[in-house]
Subunit: 226 residues, 2 copies
Amino acid sequence: MNAAPEKALVLLSGGQDSTTCLYWALDRFGQGAVSSIAFDYGQRHRVELECARRVAADAGVAHVCLPIDTFAALGGNALTDATVEVDDRASADSGLPNTFVPGRNLIFLTYAAAYAYQHDIGHLVTGIAQTDYSGYPDCRQATIASLQETLRLGMESDVHIHAPLMQRSKKETVELARDLNALDAMRLTHTCYNGRRPPCGECPACRLRAKGFAEAGIPDPLLADP
Amino acid sequence: MNAAPEKALVLLSGGQDSTTCLYWALDRFGQGAVSSIAFDYGQRHRVELECARRVAADAGVAHVCLPIDTFAALGGNALTDATVEVDDRASADSGLPNTFVPGRNLIFLTYAAAYAYQHDIGHLVTGIAQTDYSGYPDCRQATIASLQETLRLGMESDVHIHAPLMQRSKKETVELARDLNALDAMRLTHTCYNGRRPPCGECPACRLRAKGFAEAGIPDPLLADP
């Protein structure tokens, strides 16, 4: 059994939630103890990966990006396949939106745990949340608790998975970002499903983000005049 | 919750154990209900992937091979890095042999589960075993039971993971292959860590295989005169 050094690895997608988590980790573990990881899985919007790099650089944390070509081979979903239209309504047969890659977050977290194992990092931090419920079963608390147990058994580690946004609404996440002095960094993040900068404002991701900032009574720095 | 159709996906590495499992699955689920999957993760011995294809074709089952480039990016282990010498003795610091990719079987099984989900396959079959103990924590029954629960939660499925060799010694695996009429197929398999055909006979994998056949009192078809 390995000890769990007080170092943390943040799964950083370049979006609002994972950026908030990066600042949560910095607050909890301290500068120098935090690094970040992104995954290049062939996402249509390459801007996400660049946003993750910029957010990490701006926060002064080391950042790695691991390639995942397997998702493209599994094929046929809207997030990686430019021929499939985004449809955030649940599909009739599966009850899940077609942006769903089965077990996507299990894969991300398992790779992050492997990287953490190799680098003596005991804490993983992910921005997934079961509030603002999106239909993704791999974002639920029960799944993450089970995965943590699986990773501990399968890697003989005592890795911790932290999901500080799990029970927070988008409004509460915006308030957390404010409390952690992470609002400035929101300027660097990417949320829009349509890959636009400035964001389209119309897609479900833009609308959910706007709703969170509106309910918190805080202007979205991404939308501020430069 | 999806139903679990009585179809099975065998994780087929091209080795003795997974080939035995393919025949176990054919015996249990029937021809036409079984397919197989392999993973091209940059293994040094490409012959394994060709063996998996041949074993599947010989058994008359559909076969897919998914690329995994992420392991190479995680880097620095003997199975994927030709610059690292194979050393099957546990390394001093981790207590694990340096052929260990942290969580490798968790990744394989999660990808297999994603593929199975997409193809309405309810059963995964893996050749991993906790006997002839190799030091791999991701090969233990407790890990696999926990992973099954994680996959069920994370994919909202009732996938079953079968590990028919889990409690079997190499001798018992050879006897199972005999009972399933899978011995002929052993001619097509690959075991040697040094990637040799005919096998080197000297590496730990060759020695373990030879011990199993010897204890079962059955000649290894791979070593028979052509």
